[in-house]
């Protein structure tokens, strides 16, 4: 079968609009018995409606495409533009990629998750663009009266052998079709690529550096005034009574005060006045969903829910039990949305990764027919799992409906940290049995506070469940199994997940389980190597199954100078992780000497410093290496934070952390001065996903390095969780006062 031949459509339209139809074209991937990992499931689920995505040629010589995904920083608008530029031989700056509104007919093909975007859209987008190319060449041939074979399309201009020229914009109308046609095309062969695989800078960079890039809160929607909520002191508490509603309504700038399901909403002329009004509200609160719970009680629940390991084998074993505390998946842009719900219609603007589910949920909440709800997907200021949910959009819709006015609703950072989504606390128990130089079996029991996956991924799996080769296992278990491959030759594997404890607002955070499960596994691998008297790097090299895996590991070790002499208190760690059809390896060097650990940092934490980070990655075909490098850099920063500094402390039913001076995400003073990302050349024809891939190996390598530098294997993450490095802010009022020292305190 020719794997580059597909069928596409020319759609009936006044200008040339082409679309992809993969029902006949897609090889292999549709065979559900051959599903290998989560991404195969997502891609296969997306197939039946992929044909609806289309490329439009505009009279000004540009091509446009509405991407049914969310751009939240991962660079998919740029990589998508590159695919179109490649097939259409168009300069990148003449491809306009926008984000599509919620389109329920796309079903599962509008969910941005599990690093799936490039994997699922790589072929359909190219097919649509290739059909456009084909039509444009035919239109030029008719215009010139010359055969298509003698034409060249370059830089958006078609020339014939006689030197006649016509721009594609001039052909936009003549190449169009009054009725829908189906057209066979052949995609450009990999050897001829001039755009795909070359480094390109982001297409939205100029807007971002000049302040022109518009996020949801930057949009000017008529009448949409700032709104905020006064929220409960404990997680998911409910409003009892408001003592001074009238008084707050009379405050400067305040236009509305209203009780909604999640708190008391205020709308005002400015957000500053919203903050003051929220702080002035006197509300009696009812219980939350986890009142009285703390880190210790949740840990006890996890211990009780842990599934037993198998019978202890007669051979020697290495065992470990690891704890991963709650973590916040807050992006820098807080939860926010604009809503205008009036006259039986709703219009919503928000950075959403699952806009179809959001649209359905909003329609249901408002009691409106689906067709009366329009959901616009705006550019998102980071996601990390947070934007799979639409908490702010739902809330904004409710507030707008109640007061009958448009609102621009934003969560204060304190709300975002305390009532927002968190990555669930988890424990991971690992046992490895070995004899001599042979590993006989690997068992892992991962126990986690329930992860809320009710944003579309769950529906996607339900729809596919009947066809899954593993039968009707619970969804989370399915997700766990499918997102975990076994890279090492470790004999008999048994990995089980159990979830417990509802009531928390959870979600993924640049992956659901992998960073934690990988960190636990890699620490045990180090211990096993030690028992067998082997070097941690040599051990991994000996036990990794496939050559691609060994190649990234070798690359990281060589580039990072594995084994070089270092002073006492400074050490290297190395770790491996595979997922999303990608393989990755990290080498980290960490400085745990007291003078480094105790360096003074104002309103932040220093602690051990990663001084060198080398990360090697092979994701298959790379569309944009510069973008991939950026993603891996971000993953390394996340891995460092997860291992060393960032967590939430639960006490009496609420999280102590209320802002960035409490929640210690990696800052400049924690970054590795020496950071290198190595992208492996790949012979694969298919791209891999990357947005989340790098976190697991990075976190694990930091943990392994820390263990080797201090001589003690860390078992609780982040390692500084036991020390509270800040004074918790009050919970009533729920948000801090605006300071006045912005001009003096740098």
């Amino acid at each position: 079968m020719n794997r580059r031949r597909f069928v596409g459509y020319v759609l009936a339209a006044p200008v040339l609009v082409t679309a992809a139809d993969l029902h006949h074209g897609e090889p292999a991937a549709a065979d559900l018995t051959e599903l290998l990992d989560l991404n195969d499931i997502m891609t296969a689920a997306a197939l039946p409606t992929s044909g609806l995505i289309s490329v439009e040629i505009n009279p000004d010589g540009t091509a446009s495409f509405a991407l049914p995904r969310a751009e939240v920083g991962q660079g998919i608008t740029t990589s998508t533009a590159m695919l179109i530029a490649e097939e259409l031989s168009l300069p990148l700056h003449r491809v306009r990629v926008t984000l599509a509104d919620a389109r329920p007919e796309l079903l599962f093909n509008q969910l941005t998750g599990a690093s799936n975007t490039t994997i699922a859209t790589y072929t359909p987008i190219r097919v649509a663009a290739a059909v456009a190319r084909h039509r444009l060449l035919e239109a030029a041939a008719a215009l010139f009266g010359a055969p298509v074979t003698g034409l060249r399309l370059e830089d958006g201009v078609i020339t014939d052998r006689a030197g006649r020229r016509v721009g594609i914009g001039e052909l936009a109308a003549t190449a169009a079709s009054p009725k829908t046609l189906s057209v066979p095309v052949e995609l450009a062969p990999r050897e001829s690529f001039t755009v795909i695989g070359k480094p390109h800078s982001r297409i939205d960079a100029r807007d971002a550096v000049t302040g022109r890039k518009k996020f949801a809160m930057d949009l000017d929607v008529a009448g949409a005034k700032p709104a905020m909520l006064c929220r409960p002191p404990t997680i998911n508490g409910k409003v009892g009574a408001v003592a001074n509603l009238g008084e707050v309504l009379a405050m400067p700038g305040v236009t509305d005060v209203v009780t909604v399901s999640t708190g008391v909403a205020v709308r005002a002329e400015t957000f500053g006045q919203c903050i003051d009004a929220v702080r002035a509200l006197r509300v009696s609160w009812r219980r939350g969903t986890v009142d009285g719970k703390s880190d210790a009680t949740v840990l006890a629940e996890l211990a009780a829910a842990e599934l037993p390991l198998g019978p202890r084998p007669p051979t020697p074993v290495v065992e470990g039990r690891f704890t991963f505390h709650f973590r916040s998946n807050s992006a820098l842009e807080p939860n926010c949305a604009i809503a205008d719900v009036r006259g039986g219609r709703a219009e919503i603007w928000s950075g959403l990764k699952s806009p179809i589910v959001a649209k359905q949920a909003i329609a249901a909440r408002l009691g409106l027919p689906l067709g009366n709800v329009t959901v616009h997907v705006t550019e998102g200021g980071g996601s990390f799992g947070r934007k799979l949910f639409f908490d702010a959009a739902l809330e904004a819709a409710e507030v707008s409906q109640k007061i009958g006015k448009p609102v621009k609703l934003m969560w204060h950072r304190a709300d975002d940290a305390r009532q927002g989504r968190t990555h669930p606390m988890a424990t991971s128990r690992v046992r490895v049995a070995y004899a001599g130089d042979v590993v006989l079996g690997y068992e892992q029991r991962h126990t986690s506070v329930t992860t809320d996956l009710g944003h579309g991924l769950g529906e996607l799996f339900t729809a596919m469940a009947a066809k899954l080769p593993i039968g009707d296992a619970a969804f989370a278990q399915t997700f766990f199994q499918f997102s975990h491959t076994s890279p090492y030759r470790f004999g008999v594997h048994s990995r089980l997940l159990s979830e417990t404890g509802k009531g928390f607002n959870t979600g993924s955070m640049r992956n659901v389980y992998s960073p934690d499960t990988t960190c636990a596994r890699e620490l045990i691998v180090d211990r096993l190597a030690d028992r067998m008297g082997k070097d941690p790097y040599r051990f991994r090299l000996d036990f990794l199954r496939d050559e691609r895996a060994r190649a990234v590991l070798r690359q990281a070790a060589e580039a990072g100078g594995w084994g070089r002499a270092l002073p006492a208190g400074v050490a290297q760690g190395i770790a491996f992780h595979s997922e999303y059809k990608g393989v990755s390896a990290a080498l980290m060097e960490i400085d745990c000497r007291p003078e480094t650990v105790n360096r003074p940092i104002r309103d932040g934490v220093g602690g051990p410093r990663v001084t060198r980070a080398v990360f090697a990655v092979d994701v298959g075909l790379v569309v944009n290496p510069r973008g991939l490098e950026a993603q891996m850099m971000g993953c390394v920063m996340d891995g460092i934070a997860l291992a060393l500094t960032s967590s939430l402390h639960l006490r009496d039913g609420y999280f102590l952390e209320a802002s960035w001076d409490n929640y210690f995400y990696t800052r400049q003073w924690n970054t590795p001065p020496d950071l290198r990302i190595i992208i492996m050349p790949s012979s694969s024809e298919r791209p891999g996903g990357a947005g989340e891939l790098g976190v697991a190996a990075a976190m694990a390598a930091v943990a392994c390095a820390y263990g080797r530098a201090t001589g003690t294997m860390p078992t609780t993450f982040p390692i500084n969780h036991g020390t509270l490095s800040f004074t918790p802010k009050p919970t009533i009022p729920p948000i801090p006062a605006s300071p006045t020292d912005g001009g003096t305190r740098a």
């Binding site: 000049t210 302040g211 807050s330 802002s659 960035w660 020292d741 001009g743």
Partner: protein, 158 residues
Amino acid sequence: MPEHTFRVNGKQVTVDVADDVRLLWVLRDILGITGPKYGCGINVCKACTSHLNGRAVSPCSIPVSDLEPADEVVTIEGLAATAGAELHPMQQAWLDHDVVQCGYCQPGQIMAAVALVHRVAAEGREITEADLDGLRNICRCGTYARIRAAIKAAAKNM
């Protein structure tokens, strides 16, 4: 309501708003200048960083009544004009190093970086790693390494 007069990006403005409203909201909600971003509202994340008379400040934590008519506020939108070009050298360096991921923190990062380079130059020395470690702006996308590279490059052209 009290009137407040000051300069923003080279233009005199007068706003009619309560004294204690912080400058960030005056810029964003009243004047429609949305480059400075909200990330914390308490002077810790630095996403709102702008310049006041050439110094980096956090508008989320400055009451508008603190401003005098001669005070010059420069936001990311007005930065290029201070260099008399279409892009400030720092913005150009940001493009050259493809720093931006989601972009939400970047206006603040760039404004902080420009002020840092000016301060270090005024002290008659070169930028050090310790200076870069001292930048407090958060980037939740983790663009720190490219930020450092871009600042070093721009410092040469400023």
